[in-house]
């Protein structure tokens, strides 16, 4: 079965600093990969996705992620973090089964941004 590991439970960065959130997946076939953000009391918002093609994908809010098949990774990056980026971030792998999609989520990384 597929699985997603986010090694960092909690990360703290200063505003303006760069950010990288790690995500490793286990999946036998070509993975469909997603990053979501959950702000306090909010639902999940899709930041970006990887299906095929260019391994560096751009998302909303200035985020990007790079798919590295050799490392089974899909790390999320942002060059300069804003205070409003403080939230919980979830990496997910999608598996197409019988016409429907199943998303398997990692445990999430909570981001704190210091002024």
């Amino acid at each position: 079965a597929q699985s997603v590991t986010q090694p960092d439970i909690h990360i703290t960065v200063s505003e303006g600093a760069s950010l990288e959130l790690r995500c490793n997946y286990s999946y036998g076939a070509t993975p469909y990969l997603f990053w979501y953000v959950q702000s306090p009391g909010q639902g999940l918002q899709l930041l970006l996705k990887y299906f095929s093609g260019d391994t560096l994908v751009q998302g909303i809010k200035g985020f990007e992620a790079e798919f590295k098949r050799s490392q089974s990774s899909f790390n999320l990056r942002k060059p300069s973090v804003h205070w409003s980026d403080a939230a919980e971030y979830f990496c997910a792998v999608g598996e197409r089964m019988g016409g429907s999609e199943k998303l398997v989520f990692g445990k999430g990384t909570k981001l704190t941004v210091n002024p």
């Binding site: 469909y32 639902g43 999940l44 899709l46 299906f51 999609e101 199943k102 989520f105 999430g108």
Partner: protein, 116 residues
């Protein structure tokens, strides 16, 4: 994208009772999903709800505990039956949108359930 609303946004319920959560989307969608997010945890898929057919449940989730209705292409309900404190979680619905050769899932704001 899709705009999804859920009712109620939160509730406090007594053990042994049941709560029905509603999910409404602003466009017709084939695939709807229900997830559970236990306190401090990640999201776990409960079931897939397709219009016109019975819901498909994931391992560890059963219809008697989490009955689901999907009467049309814009609406679904999830009932949490015979609740216990262990059912205290955020319950989220999501919808799948097909975009060419890819797809995206969009989530509702969630229903925060506390069982006392």
């Amino acid at each position: 994208s899709a705009v999804i609303s859920q009712k109620p946004s939160r509730d406090i319920c007594q053990r042994g009772t049941s709560l029905t959560i509603q999910c409404q989307v602003d466009s017709q969608v084939t695939m709807m999903f229900w997830y559970r997010q236990q306190p401090g945890q990640s999201l776990t898929l409960i079931a897939t709800a397709n219009q016109g057919s019975e819901a498909t449940y994931e391992s560890g989730f059963v219809i008697d505990k989490f009955p689901i209705s999907r009467p049309n292409l814009t609406f679904s309900t999830l009932t949490v039956s015979n609740m216990s404190p262990e059912d205290s979680s955020i319950y989220l619905c999501s919808v799948e949108l097909l975009l060419g050769d890819s797809y995206e899932q969009y989530f509702g704001p969630g229903t925060r359930l506390t069982v006392t």
